[in-house]
């Protein structure tokens, strides 16, 4: 049995000496080491550990006093064979005197006599003998103070009644050899020096050639290491970047602070649209305004009012040009793509962005005032609805979603519009919106071919992939949580 460690061997030897049964405190080894060895030996079937609930006792304050000063009934008789109760009370205190007299009487050490109307305590012959001897109670208290609890039940009862001891329950363990354990012990145990930690010296000296290596318990605990990790959101972003660039898309970036013009007007969102309310959109004080070319504003105002030359009726209201320069925090990254189209009106183009957007939402488990959108467009001659479905399906397939469906939806700047849902754990989950930019959006910028566009949620994907039900966890990082998270 060379799989035994020196500690295990030591414990087995101790067990053999003690006829196969030992309490862990008496193994002659440190308690922790004994218990570890016992549990290893137990897993090998060589020992069993028996656990019993036993009573232990400890001395109360009263008990300690008895032990130090002797029982009170002993100090009752101070060189006198006969004493007035009143005097005893003066000497010992009324309460102690009462206890002492009570016990002395019960034990037959004294009698109470009345002479001339006065009560006297008179010691008996038995009393004279007993006060010179160590009493059973005293012996028991001594044993208890030393941790020995093999004491007569009657005495324990008396001590408890006298409030000298209190009882505690404790688990008592006994390690004993199994049959298999006895066989191993009988076949002889030899303790040989073994190498545990291999060191520079052992390697260099060649000492390792003559020694055995201790076998380790490969299941034993090892401390954890904290390594650096990317955040799940940025892992997801990198994955999406890779997918879109593999599909021929170029990434673009934009700014958080935008004008109403680019964020709203250029996208044919009417000025009284609820999404433009102070309730839903963050507007800025500093800066209050963002520069926008006046001629562009004028052009777009016509589109809103009567459709301009797009063949549209327009929204038919009077457009307030002064609203257009108002500064806001962009509410969608569609503003990135419309700006891109304005700068690059000739097809083809495939661009995408994964960036933050801001909506005036209070923070709770499903809402944050800022989050990321996965935005993209395909702009080419004869781009059509089937391609929009195709490209979105391809993207989500590559993200690992196999079942995808599309249903009608509405956005002021796309027509037809659709909502994308993916199947996740047998449930349809909405992941974003898409559509073809309306002519009112594209024509004014000289963009004459259909533009397929989408804006998808990033956090939602992260949440379902990580099984999160609280979006806040992504932004208010608990380092322990991040340390434990597997890579996506």
């Amino acid at each position: 049995m060379d799989v035994l460690s020196p500690l295990e061997k030591k414990l087995l030897i101790a067990l053999e000496k003690n006829k196969g049964r030992i309490s862990p405190e008496k193994s002659g080894m440190e308690l922790v080491k004994t218990m570890n060895s016992a549990s290893w030996l137990q897993s090998k079937g060589l020992v069993e550990v028996e656990e019993k609930l036993i009573s232990e006792y400890e001395l109360t304050e009263e008990g300690k006093k008895f032990l130090e000063e002797g029982l009170p009934e002993k100090s009752l008789f101070k060189d006198k064979e006969k004493e007035k109760i009143g005097e005893i009370e003066n000497r010992m205190g009324k309460k102690d005197a009462k206890i002492a007299i009570g016990w002395a009487k019960r034990k037959g050490w004294c009698e109470i006599k009345v002479e001339n109307g006065e009560k006297y305590v008179v010691i008996t012959e038995k009393g004279k003998k007993e006060i010179e001897r160590k009493q059973e109670e005293e012996k028991a208290l001594e044993k208890i103070s030393e941790g020995d609890f093999e004491i007569d039940e009657e005495i324990l009862k008396i001590l408890k009644r006298r409030g000298a001891i209190r009882e505690k329950e404790k688990v008592k363990r006994i390690i004993f050899l199994t049959e298999k354990g006895w066989e191993v012990v009988k076949s002889g145990i030899e303790i040989k020096e073994e190498i545990s930690q291999l060191t520079h010296e052992i390697i260099r000296s060649g000492e390792w050639k003559n020694k055995n290596f201790r076998r380790y318990d490969v299941r034993a605990f090892s401390p954890s290491i904290n390594i650096g990790k990317p955040h799940p959101l940025s892992q997801l972003m990198e994955k999406i970047r890779k997918i879109f660039s593999e599909m021929g898309f170029k990434e673009i970036k934009g700014n958080y602070v935008e004008s109403c013009f680019w964020n709203m007007d250029a996208l044919f969102i009417p000025q009284d649209h609820p999404a433009r309310d102070m309730q839903d959109t963050f507007y800025c004080n500093k800066p209050e305004k963002v520069d926008v070319d006046e001629t562009l504003i004028k052009k777009i105002s016509g589109i809103h009012e009567n459709g301009g030359e797009t063949g549209s009726k327009g929204w038919r209201y009077s457009f307030r040009m002064e609203e257009s320069k108002k500064a806001l925090l962009r509410t969608h990254t569609t503003v990135n793509t419309i700006r891109y189209l304005f700068m690059n009106p000739n097809p083809p183009a495939k661009v995408f962005s994964i960036e933050r957007v801001f909506r005036r939402e209070n923070i709770d488990s499903t809402h944050l005032p800022e989050f990321h959108q996965i935005e993209g467009i395909v702009y080419e001659k004869d781009a059509n609805f089937c391609m929009l479905k195709g490209i979105l399906k391809e993207f989500y397939n590559r993200m690992g979603f196999e079942k995808i469906r599309f249903r009608p939806s509405y956005f002021p700047y796309t027509e037809p519009s659709l909502e994308i849902e993916v199947m996740w754990m047998d449930k349809w989950i909405e992941l974003g919106g898409a559509g073809i930019f309306r002519p009112e959006v594209t024509y004014p910028f000289g963009v004459k071919e259909p533009v397929l566009a989408w804006g998808l949620g990033l956090e939602r994907i992260a949440m379902i992939m990580l099984g999160l039900n609280d979006i806040r966890k992504l932004y208010f990082s608990d380092i322990e949580w991040l340390r434990e998270l597997p890579l996506l």
Binding site: V257, Y317, F358, N384
Partner: protein, 544 residues
């Protein structure tokens, strides 16, 4: 977006054909509404703002009936020519210029009708009416009053009447002060010196739009004939809401009768003449790739349009209550919905383009190699965190309408948020080292200027300047730069333990040992080192 609650049995009886729940659940979203719930016989659907005609069970039933081809094509209602008229006084021009009206006879008033009418009214007020501003509806028991009616504007104290839900007469002024609805909508008449009112020939008050109706014309189970008024500041919204609500009552068996509105011009409402639009077949084919013309026609009919083939184009006659058809593209979408989104075969773009992305993997690999955990923090912050706690002064983009004082500006450095994360992680094991790559927005010369930064912090009992310098040096080495430093004064750092990072002769960032006062401000108790580097300097190739 408004959510409409529809009783399943009511919907089925209006459709007039039994439809299994499962089929309904599958089909409802396909007409272009979002199914929220189907519980205890009640269906909740979210209606998109372009289709206010679906804001009630009657409209949804009408659309479903057509979509399921139980009765497809343009729905026609019998409308009797006007027997009554409404005079419009020019005094209303400055306060609420537009009005339309309709009479609906022989309406069977039951619980469903009343509930549905009230719900629809509320939803229309909210969406089409923009909270009664653009448009508000009044529904009256027609038999309690005598036409002709008069729509005029009067002084706030001039007329007294009993408003709905009250027992005593009040002036309009008093209504705005005391009546629940008056208080709620008083802002709509703020700074107006006259208020609009509708009266009958005996000067009985029907309505004080857009606030409250008179108690006199309140609906009851005995009501048989209804008069509807719609007033507002936007003619399109007024007429469209009138069409939607009056045809909804017609769906319940009511008989429509027009009203002559005599103002500056004379109009007759409701006007249910279909809207005619031309749709080029090639346009539909281009956008949707539907090859077969008959498929286009079937789809349009399923969506409630009538069609007339005309060579290369189709003349489409659309219901008067569809206010969302601005451009032929809106009909193209109806073709797509009618055809069924699921039937379009996916295809791929044909153009060849080359992909390129702003990959941050180089930064990620470097920081992970150094044992840093990446974090992501909000861009919205507050001056206390950004400046006060950091011991510095500065400018930032400021939000006019923040959700809370905690989120009132845009962060102009990543460091404060990283320190905040450390402060939230005091219960976790040290050392902790975290980093973030993200955008900050500076506010300079009245303009917002956005930059991408890489920032990291480390808290440990032994963190010091030398370690920080080693970290920064290691980072720069990965990007092919040799660390060049200059002394820097920065109040967040211990004086004499902060340095600028110089790349190509320009400051690209800074690093050092955080000042104990800043450490204490973030309720931390161990040394902290920190750095922040401009990513455009580190990875110039990304921005080319």
């Amino acid at each position: 977006m408004p959510v409409v609650n529809v009783n399943y049995n009511d919907l089925i009886s209006l459709i007039g054909k039994d439809i299994e729940k499962d089929e309904l659940i599958e089909k409802i979203p396909m007409i272009g509404v979002s199914l929220e719930r189907f519980e205890n016989g009640e269906i909740s659907v979210e209606v998109f703002p372009n289709r206010p005609d679906l804001l009630g069970v009657e409209g949804i039933a009408r659309a479903m009936k057509s979509f399921l081809e139980i009765e497809s094509g343009l729905k026609k209602y019998d409308v009797s020519p006007p027997k009554i008229f409404m005079n419009v006084d020019k005094s209303v021009e400055k306060v609420r210029p537009y009005i339309g009206g309709a009479v609906v006879r022989n309406v069977e008033m039951n619980e469903e009708t009343i509930i549905s009418l009230m719900e629809m009214q509320e939803k229309l007020h909210f969406s089409v009416g923009k909270n009664r501003k653009k448009m508000a509806i009044g529904v009256h028991d027609f038999d309690k009053v005598n036409p002709p009616f008069l729509y005029k504007a009067v002084k706030p104290y001039e007329i007294k009447f009993v408003p709905l839900g009250w027992e005593e007469e009040m002036t309009m002024e008093e209504i705005l002060e005391k009546h629940e609805k008056g208080i709620e909508y008083a802002y709509l008449l703020k700074n107006k010196d006259v208020y609009p009112i509708i009266q009958d020939k005996n000067e009985n008050v029907l309505s004080f739009p857009p606030i409250i109706n008179g108690q006199l014309t309140a609906l009851s189970y005995e009501t048989r004939n209804i008069f509807i008024d719609v007033t507002g500041t936007d003619m399109n919204a007024v007429l469209s809401a009138l069409n939607i609500i009056s045809t909804a009552l017609a769906e319940r068996g009511g008989k429509l009768e027009q009203v002559r509105i005599i103002g500056k011009e004379e109009i007759i409402t409701p006007d249910l003449t279909p809207q005619k639009n031309e749709l080029q077949i090639d346009y539909v084919k281009k956008i949707l790739e539907i090859k077969n013309k008959s498929n286009i026609i079937v789809a349009l009919k399923k969506m409630g349009h009538d069609v007339e083939e005309d060579g290369n184009k189709i003349n489409v006659y659309s219901p008067a209550w569809r206010a969302d058809i601005l451009h032929p593209i809106d009909l193209v979408e109806d073709v797509a919905i009618g055809y069924g989104y699921e039937r379009f075969k996916e295809s791929m773009p044909k153009s060849v383009t080359f992909g390129k992305s702003f990959s941050f993997s180089k930064i990620q690999n470097t920081m992970i190699g150094l044992g840093f955990n990446e974090v992501v923090t909000l861009s919205l912050s507050n001056p206390e965190k950004e400046f006060l706690k950091m011991g510095i002064k500065g400018n930032a983009v400021q939000i006019e309408n923040p959700i809370s004082t905690e989120h009132s500006i845009l962060k102009q450095s990543l460091l404060p948020s990283l320190l905040e994360i450390l402060s939230k992680n005091r219960h976790n094991e040290l050392p902790q080292q975290i980093y973030e790559t993200g955008d900050v927005v500076l506010f300079e010369e009245g303009k917002a200027k956005q930059k991408t930064m890489l920032s990291g912090v480390k808290i440990s009992s032994k963190a010091n300047f030398t370690e920080c310098k080693s970290i920064v040096e290691a980072i720069l080495k990965n990007f092919g730069f040799k660390l060049e430093v200059e002394e820097k004064e920065h109040n967040s750092f211990i004086n004499g333990r902060c340095a600028s990072i110089i790349i190509d002769g320009e400051e690209a960032g800074y690093f050092g040992e955080i000042h104990p006062s800043v450490i204490c401000n973030f309720e931390l108790e161990y040394p902290v080192i920190a750095f922040e580097i401009d990513v455009s300097k580190l990875l110039p190739s990304l921005y080319k």
